[in-house]
Symmetry: C2
Subunit: 219 residues, 2 copies
Amino acid sequence: MEISEYFPVWDKLSTEQQNRLTGSAIRCRAKKGGIIHGGTEECLGLLLICSGQLRAYICSEEGREITLYRLFERDICLLSASCMMNGIQFPFSVEAEKETDFWLIPPDIYRRTMEESVSLSNYTNQIMAERFSEVMWLMEQTMWKSFDRRLAEFLLEESALEENSTLVITHEKIANHMGTAREVVTRMLKYFQNEGLVTLSRGKIVITDLIKLVQYSEK
Amino acid sequence: MEISEYFPVWDKLSTEQQNRLTGSAIRCRAKKGGIIHGGTEECLGLLLICSGQLRAYICSEEGREITLYRLFERDICLLSASCMMNGIQFPFSVEAEKETDFWLIPPDIYRRTMEESVSLSNYTNQIMAERFSEVMWLMEQTMWKSFDRRLAEFLLEESALEENSTLVITHEKIANHMGTAREVVTRMLKYFQNEGLVTLSRGKIVITDLIKLVQYSEK
């Protein structure tokens, strides 16, 4: 497996840029459960995922965690190269949820290439905007509005009422019950699904991890 | 006042790009207290501040506000052009804290120029990274760790003990008292200063808005 097959906008880079990336990227493997980036402000480099699954999260002082997002094959983790862009500086961690193969690209190499290539720069912009948006939404909903807790409570109550771990209910209906927009419900349910709490299918929500869902409802 | 004097990396743009920006940017003025961007997901365009002061903030459903950041002369507000980058989508508001002159740059024009110019693209990356980092830090500290509330409490207690609204204490000392890092204290005190709660000078903190500080401590 070559980096050329995984790196975004590879075809739009010059041969020199391609050689520079190939020559400097380090192939790494993280075991399941391994912590790749540790919450301090070290500047490890960019992670380009080849296979496996990573989870970026933040920790409170009491050790509670919030998952920011997950990274899969071909995803790039920018935040682990905080020094690359003068701005990014906040403590967060990256953990391998499955055995993960990735390339570690030195921050100075990526930065130099980005400063030369408008394609790479715009690509980087795009993924940063997506993460920014994702993380802002999540933090607003979870930390401020406690929508995760409220939704977990709602699902547990419904399940108790129906005496069934499978709920036959639309996202629209939940939104009406909770006085919010359908999009907000759908997005949080997807977050729950990624966290392993529920499984979603058309018109149905199956509670798959009751204990964890109860923990969410008691946050 | 010409846009050429305010627009970042102007000298690195081609004449065609410069003309495109000059020809499409709209000069606007917002009165003090005016809401420029309203929390919905409209895509207004980029704001390039000529003079004045803007405040970007989010609102909870109960109407509480958190200031995300302020924008001054020559600053660019990217978030008001959410459609420009497919990713950015979260509700926030922008208010003029002083009478503010700004250029409104249509999102498609900015995007096109950014896709052509590596200088503009990298500049955009840089400011997005800075805002991302700033906002993440703030949300972690305020929403999760309630460090704003705890610091407000600490300042009020100190002030009551000393019977004085001027506290002679270093940030280092506060950090030790509160079991955190000096940088965290300094950054939050600066946020308080921007919010008008305190005035900072070497080795001193003057409480300038007691009522608002009490409100913070009771959040």
